[in-house]
């Protein structure tokens, strides 16, 4: 039973009247893996999440979750999943603890067990002191952690997180990432959607890049970068010079150039060497930055667009 992928999708399609939100995606996730969906808003990530949460049915294609067919075993599958939706769907009028305990009853968890688990998970999400406070009074980061605690009340085998850190400040994000790491270490399979490349790099063993409802690339973050980008990127900003003319002059110095509205990205293997060569050629930018390639560059390469517009 524990062999084979925990999640397998073949040619999944989701259509809403004229709109095709997901257009034939295939992937497989193994137990204990942490798997990401990276893509801009509107790429079809949330529709995919809703299907693999056994909430909405695919228009076509095949889907197996925990070895079961969601068409026939929806309630059973959902009983073994944890879902952290994009927006916190917490009861604002109830206390932190009440939110956990009341939600857990949906899973038919006995009262004594859910009380103990709520205590445990409040500790885990560092909300113990806020247990008796109304949810309305919590910060955004705390609400997010509570939503995660709630999703863990049924001890899920698979935790599905849709944009877990969108809208959080950096400190709250890092705390959340750290907690997700721990879950991963405990063997929980994580599925994460994000439009933050740093989040995807931090959390995902493997990911797919989605655009316009389709998967455009798949692999571990490092592999994707190695496959679709160069080792380093030189970011150049110029004053008021004509960008078109500059494009031609820069071209010989890089394997590939992306011209963004405010800067050029030069894809090279050695950024410092490229800068020296540019100086020698008399090309002087107002600012220059050498950095390692990231998933953002992969996305730009594959789709011609940036992730966060």
């Amino acid at each position: 039973m524990n062999t084979g992928p925990i999640l397998q999708a073949q040619d999944l399609v989701k259509r809403f009247r004229e709109l095709t939100a997901v257009n034939g995606v295939s992937f497989a996730v193994d137990r204990g893996e942490s798997f990401g969906f990276l893509g801009p808003n509107g790429a079809g990530k949330t529709s995919t999440m809703r299907m693999i949460s056994a909430v909405s049915q695919p228009t076509s294609g095949s889907l197996t979750i925990l070895g079961l067919d969601p068409r026939t075993h929806g309630p059973e599958i959902r009983g073994r999943l944890g879902v952290v939706p994009q927006e916190d769907t917490l009861e604002l009028e109830l206390t932190v603890r009440q939110n956990l305990e009341m939600f857990a009853r949906y899973f038919d968890i006995p009262r004594a067990v859910l009380r103990e688990r709520a205590t445990e998970l409040l500790e885990f999400t560092q909300l113990t002191e806020r247990g008796n406070d109304k949810v309305d009074d919590l910060s955004g980061g705390m609400k997010r952690r509570l939503t995660i605690a709630r999703a863990l009340m049924n001890r899920p085998e698979l935790l599905i997180l849709d944009e877990p850190t969108t809208g959080l400040d950096p400190q709250a994000r890092h705390l959340l990432w750290e907690r997700l790491y721990r879950l991963k270490r405990e063997g929980v399979t994580l599925i994460i959607t994000t439009h933050y490349m740093d989040e995807a790099e931090q959390l995902c063993d493997r990911l797919v890049v989605m655009d316009h409802g389709a998967i455009v690339a798949e692999g571990p973050p490092r592999d994707l970068i190695a496959r679709h980008s160069t080792r380093e990127v030189v970011e150049l900003r110029f004053g008021l010079d004509s960008h078109e003319e500059l494009h031609g002059r820069l071209a010989p110095f890089a394997q590939r150039i992306e011209a963004l509205p405010d800067r050029f990205l030069l894809y090279v293997d050695g950024g410092d060497d490229t800068l020296k060569e540019l100086h020698a050629a008399g090309i002087v930018p107002t600012s220059a930055l050498v950095r390692r390639s990231s998933l953002e560059d992969v996305f730009l390469r594959l789709t011609g667009r940036t992730l966060v517009d």
Binding site: F16, S53, V55, S56, Q57, G74, P75, E76, R78, G79, R80, L81, V83, P85, E87, T89, L90, E91, L92, E93, L94, Q98, M102, F103, R105, Y106, F107, D108, I109, P110, V113, R150, N154, R155, P156, E157, E186, G187, V188
Partner: protein, 265 residues
């Protein structure tokens, strides 16, 4: 890591949704128990005793009843309608759109039907409990004249459901609450006033009397009087009951579609 909790109680899944709604109510109600007892006392004192005094001075008995007794059972019907409406419009829109607590519930083993039935079961529970209190108050005013009055709490449940079932469906497919106030002002308030609540249907001109037959609350009002006074023909009672049951059934079918479309499409 995983422990699939197979406590497999024989309870159906919708009972978990019922329980959730009940707990939510218990944890957030504010003074509604006191008002459940006080409101009917105030109402029957003002209209039944006060206005009733004028009516009996001018026209004497209404259909063989004092005015107080004539209007007392209808209070149970109108209250049940209001309860059904109050539980259905804004709270349901909040649950599918603002707070999205029904979306959260739909990510658990519950199906949209479980959420819907649990909700309506809770509305019925509240209405039956409120109906029991109202029956006691109406009885204290001396308006109960038959053992059939013991069915009044159940009737309150049926009336509340007859309104809640279609209104839950309506709210579940709404995008905003803009139309809710219209339903309230131009649907529920006129029904409260014109369902033969305060005077018999015979007070209407002949051509209007058949129209009243199509006003949903009228059937609840007629049944409330029938139960309180132990009168009315079997055929008429069956017709009134059938009308309300049809509203529940239509509301359920519509609600099932609305909830599915909203939560799992």
């Amino acid at each position: 890591m995983a422990d699939v909790l197979n406590t497999s109680t024989s309870w159906p899944r919708w009972q978990r949704s019922w329980w959730y709604h009940a707990r939510y109510y218990v944890r957030t109600w504010r003074g509604s128990v006191a008002s459940t007892v006080l409101f009917p006392i105030f109402y029957l004192s003002a209209l039944g005793v006060g206005v009733g005094h004028l009516v009996s001075a001018h026209t004497g008995l209404v259909q063989g009843q004092t005015y107080l007794h004539f209007i007392a059972p209808t209070l149970l019907a109108t209250t049940a309608m209001q309860l059904g409406e109050g539980e259905s419009l804004w709270p349901v829109l909040a649950a599918v759109k603002w707070i999205r607590s029904y979306h959260a519930a739909a990510s658990t083993p519950l199906e949209p039907e479980d959420i819907l039935i649990g909700k309506l079961a809770w509305v019925a529970t509240r209405a039956v409990a409120t109906g029991a209190v109202y029956t006691a108050v109406i009885g204290a005013f001396g308006a109960l004249q038959s053992w059939w009055c013991l069915t009044l709490p159940l009737l309150a449940g049926l009336i509340a459901l007859a309104f809640a079932a279609p209104l839950v469906a309506y709210a579940a497919r709404s995008q905003s609450d803009g139309s809710f106030i219209v339903i309230y002002r131009f649907g529920l308030v006129p029904m409260f006033l014109f369902s033969a609540t305060f005077y018999p249907v015979s007070a209407y001109p002949g051509y209007l009397r058949p129209v009243v037959q199509f006003v949903p609350l009228y059937h609840g009002v007629a049944l409330a009087r029938a139960a309180a006074f132990g009168q009315g023909s079997l055929g008429a009672i069956a017709f009134h009951l059938a009308f309300l049951v049809m509203m529940v059934a239509a509301g359920l079918l519509w609600g099932r579609r609305a909830m599915r479309r909203r939560l799992v499409d």
